[in-house]
Symmetry: C2
DNA sequence: TCAGCACTATGACGGCTGTCATAGTAGCGG
DNA sequence: CCGCTACTATGACAGCCGTCATAGTGCTGA
């Protein structure tokens, strides 16, 4: 997750909150440190986020959801010939690149918020739901553009994101990208098989 | 995750720690509450867990890994005719049953420990790695017993667990079992296709 | 009876948390 | 100069945290 040249201090705080959350979890992320890392004064916290930590966390999660959704479109544009497996490989590669370059410290902030706050703060749970929905929607739209039938697009997008999120957990625990590359390799053919209605042979039913 | 009649107070504390962690996350789980929910005296904490919270969390994660591994064998025995998709469906059903009966408060304690402590406490990260390894090993062994070629068993087991873990996150965020049932439906055929070396036709390339 | 051990009981400590209260500064229109 | 608004700056607060120190209980064995 890049983004060094954020606009105002408010945006920088949301961004640094997301960064901290995905590394340390929500509970271990302190407001004071969020402000410090953003180069923002501590007093601005209560000014920009009168709803307190809950609001800050929710906005960080929303930011992550928007970021993930936007990345999908960019991946699509970068692919020479767009295929579902190619898109998935790009989504995963973003993570393997980070892990190999910077180590396995970071995870997905939406996952962290879900694990830490889904039960305690319903507004945060809702923010996570929205983030997943936006992300899934972007992936499903991309699949549809590639020729995946409309009814299959959303389930497959959900499967892609599920597998990615789970593989991220395992990768962090193992300090290895194995689970991530495994997901790409095993899921790729399944994804591409959903494209063609005019393929030679084709899968029965439907 | 059942287990009401635990033996001693020590085991009860480990169990209640796992329960609390999977609901609230590691950070929001307090030692005092762990003891209280276990019906154990607070003073026993420093007696049984001189390594402090870190040790308690690690043992809770280890317990969860053993539990998940053991469940696999029991699922296998319960299936009339064992198939990979049947095993996966059973693994997922354990969660959908819980969610429909008790709500979406709980997640996987190994996932929670990874998100909250993978960076801060390496011994906990290691415990999570071991838990995933044990779980994956059990699933891979089951797949092998079903006729899945040895080289494919572990990748597929990893994919199953990745998808399950990710779908759990989405399910909690959405308060819906949709992502879980989607994973079963979409992944099932892929898993079963890995069984037969003597299937009619078969997939090319290999 | 006394030691020795496993376990329990309780109070205190320092540290960090999120939040609030209060005051201060900068820029702007008039 | 004023007032007004946006933002900053600190200090204090109560609360919870994990941990430690210390003492107490009850059983075992000699």
């Amino acid at each position: 997750m890049a983004g060094a040249a954020e606009r105002g201090p408010r945006e920088r705080m949301v961004f640094s909150a997301a960064q901290l959350i995905r590394r340390e979890g929500v509970g271990a992320t302190g407001m004071r440190e969020v402000a410090a890392r953003a180069g923002a004064p501590r007093g601005s916290l209560q000014h920009y986020f009168p709803g307190g930590k809950e609001q800050l966390v929710n906005e960080a999660v929303g930011w992550a959801g928007r970021y993930a959704g936007n990345r999908v479109a960019r991946f699509l544009a970068a692919l020479p010939e767009p295929t579902p497996s190619g898109l998935f490989a790009e989504m995963v590669r973003q993570w393997t690149d980070e892990y190999e370059a910077e180590g396995f410290d970071g995870g997905c902030p939406v996952a962290a918020a879900t694990v830490d706050r889904a039960r305690a703060a319903d507004s945060t749970r809702q923010a996570a739901e929205d983030a997943f929905a936006r992300w899934t929607g972007a992936v499903a739209a991309a699949l549809t553009d590639m020729g995946v039938p409309g009814e299959r697009a959303r389930p497959l997008a959900t499967l892609m994101i599920s597998s990615l999120e789970g593989a991220l957990l395992i990768a962090r625990a193992e300090r290895s990208v194995r689970a991530l590359t495994t997901a790409v390799r095993e899921l790729g053919p399944l994804l591409d098989a959903a494209v063609a209605p005019a393929a030679p042979g084709g899968t029965a039913g439907g």
